[in-house]
């Protein structure tokens, strides 16, 4: 490759062709443009005239220059110019490309992919075998050194992971390397981590190491906290040099169920600060809707902070059976519950019927025995729809008959009468401690403090189902907490009181933990390992490296301890985990994480991510040459006088059309134009039958009729139109001629509804079976039968043969026969009303309403009307003069028909003129 500044040429020898340009200049200059030959009678007057100057028609210099430039562009284009050609790297032997591929790589992953591709292609050009390793997804064995093209296709499939490299896996991989030697290129994500140093050491021992770093600095969002009624957001960054502002949006489902940004906040990083904090005060309802916070425009798993129960505040309704003991706060059945729940839940107080419509998450009934039937029904319904009802026992419940013999619908178990009391002043035995929670209980894993003792409790009846309903028991096995599912919800009964009267449970921390496990309350901060001990969690949705939530498909369940350790990996990616009714969000960054930029030893060369792209210029240069040649063409035409007047405009238009493709004329515009045409003038129309010859005949016939109307009457119809029943609007045409053919398709239902609308709104259809020569109307000719099929769905009134006094006989001409090409007398129109009577002294009956919607006949009128382009009749009618007379009558019938359509029964109204005159005279 031969270089000229930043441009290289793949075929530099071709550039020698540029030497030929001056020769081309001389040749082109010597040849004048070719003459045009014109036929022109006035040449006789030109003979003998000579040109004043003979050399003017040399090609002008600017046109020559244009052509030279075009020729030069062609030569340069074929010489293969390349901008920023990639100059090959030095080095030999295998090359290992190491990519961190963590979430910090994600914001500019595609640039990293490009860089990686460039790197591998470069190695491929110098014939080096290449291996590619993702530190977050290490291959089980040593790296595969393959030819570059095998790797290039795999680059598109690489994706950053939302976790950090695993030091143990990295150690194992290093151990598997053996003593292979290779050079290394390390695409780093720019974050410091402890596992870097041993890897770098091991790689340096095997060959040269280069590091490529850069791109956008890593940004992260720490888990969101809810404190003092505000949502605390805190951001982290690795590079702390300058001041920066980062927009954070809270995203969740709006009431319509679409995901959108519900609120926005700005994190302002001071210069030199690695963290920034801000608080967002959100209304309770809005806060419950937020599913995640994310840094706007930063695609990375760390820039997303999922929210879980810690942000969500449950609504808990507290209802006590007795509130008559004012002043005795510590004895109030709700006091301990309020203390335990107030920091983490919204508490509702009030009557049961007032609370239920607010649909709280949980309802706690402390020592409530009997419910009113209406309350009981409403509460049962609420529980069945997924509510959590927690009941506490107490003296009232113990003394009531609730759930004694029959299982109460809102109790988990039947109760024995009276309950029991142990360790009291009047009883035997010690107060009972709690038995450790069994596996399968929601409380499994909670530490049971020794100081929790129970003095009194209500006893459950030993029923067959009792065993499975017990979720906590005393040391002697008597049930302490029982639970039963009802519909989608559940009822939990603590067999002790909610205050410290019967037990010390409400005084202990266990009480709060138990409420939390029951999802009555939520924990304020991220759970510790012992909080989660013994639980199993399943991933609900997981984050990928780019911070997108993906459905967790077949990920296995994760034990709570593992969850608490936050050691992410392929089996436990960051995301949203559910266990029972609780949800925990595991975000990439923990509250105490710090982002630091990676520090490389001075001996390691660190390159930027940017690559100068190789750009092939041959295409643009050749396109330029084509453009120049096109300009030359237009200029030559103009010079030789072929671009004058209309032609010039045409050529200019053509050139413009070539430049910018004209928008295609839409069908709608065509429809509009047609509607305009049909409505600005009177237009006769015929129905398209699909038979080309019949359609042409109908067109010619209506043209002939139109001409007759034009010359004889004041109706001046425009060119007739063909109407497709399926697609065209009919309302524009006063009159439709419908020649009936055997092969005509039956119109669709929509077309029929359009036709009926047309007939009802005053349109007229002339059906022509064109068989007047072989049979009368209604006889069994093929087209007659077809007509019956076609007209069946039409809304046609009763018909009768055209009566002698029908208005059609006198709308323009006085007619008694209605011949077309045939002279059948059968023409049918709408029947006159039965009560039409002929008044004494009047020539015809009093029939003045409406235009007949159909006229049916078989006289092939169109053939009689049809004329060709020069206005001559197309088809013979009859013989000799009588035939011409018949044609004339046919035309007169057509004129009468159109007049009837356009003027209605005007001529019939003339009947009343004598009467009106008579009355005026009086």
């Amino acid at each position: 490759m031969w270089m000229l500044g930043p441009i290289g040429f793949t075929a530099p020898l071709l550039l020698l062709g540029l030497i030929a340009l001056p020769i081309l200049w001389i040749i082109l200059r010597a040849v004048p443009p070719a003459p045009i030959r014109r036929r022109f009678p006035g040449v006789a007057l030109l003979l003998g005239l000579t040109d004043d100057e003979t050399q003017t028609d040399r090609t002008p210099w600017w046109l020559l220059l244009l052509r030279m430039l075009a020729a030069a562009a062609v030569i340069v284009g074929f010489a293969g110019p390349v901008l920023n050609p990639q100059v090959e790297e030095t080095g030999s032997g295998p090359l290992l490309a190491v990519v961190d591929a963590t979430w910090a790589d994600a914001p500019d992953w595609s640039r990293r992919q490009d860089r990686l591709a460039a790197l591998i292609e470069e190695a491929g050009r110098s014939g080096r075998p290449v291996a590619l390793v993702q530190l977050t997804d290490l291959p089980p064995g040593p790296p595969e050194f393959l030819s570059a093209d095998r790797w290039v296709s795999r680059i598109a499939g690489l994706a950053p992971q939302p976790w950090e490299p695993d030091p143990e896996a990295q150690e194992a991989w290093l151990a598997g390397l053996g003593d292979a030697r290779f050079d290394t290129v390390w695409l780093s994500d720019g974050l410091a981590r402890a596992s870097r140093a041993p890897l770098l050491e091991a790689l340096e021992a095997r060959g040269d190491v280069r590091v490529i770093e850069g791109g956008r600095p890593a940004l992260g969002l720490a888990p969101v906290l809810y404190e003092d009624g505000e949502v605390k957001l805190s951001g982290l960054r690795a590079i702390t040099a300058s001041e920066a502002e980062v927009a954070v949006s809270a995203i969740g489902l709006d009431p319509a169920g679409t995901e959108r940004a519900l609120a926005a906040a700005t994190l302002t990083f001071e210069a030199g600060a690695a963290g920034a904090e801000t608080a967002l005060a959100l209304p309770h309802e809005l806060r419950n809707r937020v599913t995640r916070f994310e840094i706007a425009g930063h695609r990375s798993a760390a820039a997303v902070s999922l929210t879980d129960d810690s942000l969500r505040r449950r609504e808990v309704a507290l209802i006590a059976g007795r509130d008559d003991r004012e002043g005795l706060e510590l004895l109030s059945p709700l006091h301990y519950l309020e203390q335990a729940l107030a920091p983490t839940a919204e508490l509702l107080h009030g009557g049961l019927t007032d609370i239920l419509p607010a649909n709280p998450d949980a309802i706690i009934l402390a020592d409530v025995a009997q419910l009113a039937p209406a309350e009981q029904a409403a509460l049962t319904e609420w529980v069945e729809e997924g509510g959590l009802l927690v009941r506490f026992a107490g003296p009232r419940l113990a003394s009531s008959e609730v759930s004694r013999t029959e299982l109460d619908p809102l109790m988990p178990v039947r109760l024995r009468e009276g309950g029991r009391s142990v360790g009291g002043a009047m009883s035997w035995g010690e107060p009972r401690a709690l038995r450790p929670f069994a596996e399968g209980s929601p409380f499994y894993g909670l530490e049971v403090p020794q100081e929790v003792t129970v003095q009194s409790q209500v006893m459950a009846q030993p029923d067959p189902e009792l065993g499975e309903r017990v979720i906590a028991a005393l040391a002697d096995g008597t049930p302490l907490v029982t639970r039963r599912g009802i519909g989608a919800g559940q009822v939990v009964l603590f067999h002790v009181t909610a205050n410290a009267e019967w037990s010390t449970l409400p005084l202990s921390g266990l009480f709060v933990q138990m409420l939390e496990r029951l999802a009555v309350s939520t924990r304020p901060a991220s759970p510790s390992a012992e909080d989660l001990a013994g639980t199993t969690w399943t991933a609900d949705a997981v984050l990928d490296g780019f911070g997108e939530l993906q459905p967790a498909e077949t990920l296995p369940g994760v034990p709570g301890e593992r969850l608490a350790s936050r050691a992410f990996g392929p089996d436990m990616p960051p995301g949203l985990y559910t266990g029972g009714d609780r949800r925990i969000a595991l975000n990439v960054l923990a509250a105490d994480d710090v982002l630091e930029p990676a520090a490389w030893p001075a001996r390691i060369p660190v390159e930027g991510l940017a690559i100068a792209r190789e750009t092939r210029l041959a295409g643009p240069v050749l396109a330029l040459a084509l453009l120049l040649l096109a300009a030359d063409l237009v200029a030559s035409l103009w010079l030789s006088g072929r671009l004058r007047g209309g032609q010039g405009g045409a050529v200019a238009l053509l050139a413009l059309a070539l430049m910018a493709p004209a928008p295609p004329a839409s069908a709608q515009e065509a429809d509009e134009a047609r509607a305009l045409l049909a409505t600005t003038e009177v237009v006769l129309a015929h129905v398209v039958t699909g038979d080309q010859s019949i359609d042409r005949l109908a067109q010619a016939g209506l043209t002939g009729l139109g001409e007759a109307l034009y010359t004889r009457t004041s109706v001046e119809p425009a060119q007739p139109m063909a109407v497709n029943l399926e697609t065209d609007e009919l309302a524009f045409y006063p009159f439709l001629y419908w020649p009936v053919t055997e092969g005509q398709p039956i119109p669709s239902a929509e077309a029929y509804s359009r036709l009926n609308r047309y007939l009802r709104s005053g349109g007229m259809i002339l059906f022509d079976t064109r068989d007047g020569d072989i049979g009368g109307f209604g006889s069994a000719t093929p087209t007659g039968r077809k007509l019956q099929q076609l007209a069946g769905p039409l809304d046609i009134p009763p018909l009768e043969p055209l009566p002698q006094d029908h208005v059609l006989t006198r709308t323009f001409y006085l007619l008694q026969d209605f011949p077309g090409r045939y002279t059948s007398r059968d023409v049918w129109v709408e029947a006159a009303p039965a009560d039409a009577e002929k008044v004494e002294g009047m020539p015809f009956r009093n029939l003045n309403d409406g235009v007949t919607p159909v006229v049916i006949g078989g006289n092939d009128w169109a053939s009689a009307w049809a004329v060709d382009a020069s206005g001559m009749p197309l088809y013979p009618v009859g013989r000799g003069f009588a035939g011409e007379r018949q044609r004339e009558l046919a035309l007169r019938f057509g004129v009468n028909l159109v007049m009837h359509v356009l003027t209605g029964n005007y001529k019939s109204d003339q009947v009343h003129v004598p009467a009106l005159l008579d009355r005026l005279g009086q």
Binding site: P33, F40, V43, L47, L49, S870
Partner: protein
């Protein structure tokens, strides 16, 4: 093409002749109708000679004079007075008009695709004039065919037939007036682009026979404006004449000058021989041209 010539001829003489004839005839009614339509725009009046002579219409009674025959006396009028009166009729003599329509190739020129050729206009005017004249009772003939002038509707059909033929092979036409009746009227319709000598000769010959009439020059607007430029080879319609120029635009002035000279020459010729001259462009309305022609014949009649 591969058929022997004899077969071709017999085929032409056979059914093909009829087809061709029908094709020819199909154009006739439109031309005739167009001409009639054009003619109908000219209002016809009475065309009496305003003096006594042979005719049908009553002109005047005059007292008998020496030399009048006795049978000429109108006894009914004479009986009402003492003098004998002779009933005179208005002189109504049919005039012969000979029309020459240039049928050369140069008439086939049209400067625009949407404009009819000069020959179309010439033929239309000729036929429309014929229609008018025939309606006025004159005899009309075409100089091109050489047939004597005749009157009547049938003559119109003959004229229309003669006028719908192909153009001749010549490049420029020369007026030909075989058997021009003495004291007839003549109309020459042409572009007069060819040799002026032929026109002069024909005019002289006509003037000798006492024939008067009109020279009617029909030009295409392009021939008046010469909108050409650049290197051009101009050819006559038949291709016999050609002229090459490097800059057609430079020639415009001189061409227009020559055209004006040609018009002046024609006008001069017309004036000295008692004819009338007018120039008409195919871009203008045919009706004004017909009016002018009709008036010209009226004047010279």
């Amino acid at each position: 093409m591969s058929q022997p010539p004899a077969a071709t001829q017999s085929a032409q003489a056979g059914p093909q002749l009829r087809t061709r004839a029908e094709g020819l005839a199909s154009a006739l009614p439109p031309l005739l109708a167009q001409a009639e339509h054009l003619a109908s725009t000219v209002l016809l009046g009475s065309h009496g000679r305003r003096r006594s002579g042979m005719g049908d219409e009553f002109w005047q009674y005059r007292p008998i004079a020496q030399g009048d025959e006795a049978r000429e006396i109108d006894w009914r009028r004479s009986a009402r007075s003492d003098v004998h009166f002779i009933r005179q009729k208005e002189w109504q003599a049919a005039q012969s008009v000979v029309i020459w329509v240039d049928g050369s190739r140069s008439m086939g020129f049209s400067g625009d695709r949407n404009r009819a050729a000069k020959s179309d206009r010439a033929r239309l005017l000729a036929l429309a004039l014929s229609v008018l004249l025939v309606r006025a009772g004159e005899r009309v003939g075409l100089a091109n065919t050489g047939a004597p002038p005749r009157g009547g509707q049938l003559q119109l059909v003959r004229l229309a037939e003669a006028l719908t033929g192909e153009l001749s092979e010549e490049d420029y036409g020369t007026p030909e007036t075989p058997g021009l009746p003495a004291h007839a009227r003549a109309v020459f319709l042409s572009d007069f682009m060819g040799d002026i000598a032929g026109v002069e000769a024909a005019l002289a010959k006509a003037a000798d026979r006492g024939v008067r009439g009109a020279l009617f020059q029909i030009l295409d607007p392009v021939e008046e404006t010469f909108p050409f430029d650049g290197r051009t080879i101009f050819e006559s319609m038949g291709g016999t004449l050609s002229h090459e120029t490097l800059k057609a635009g430079e020639l415009k002035e001189r061409y227009l000058q020559r055209l004006a000279e040609r018009k002046d020459r024609l006008e001069h010729l017309a004036r000295v021989s008692g004819w009338l001259y007018d120039c008409h462009h195919t871009g203008d309305s045919a009706q004004s041209a017909l009016l002018w022609l009709y008036a010209a014949l009226e004047r010279s009649r």
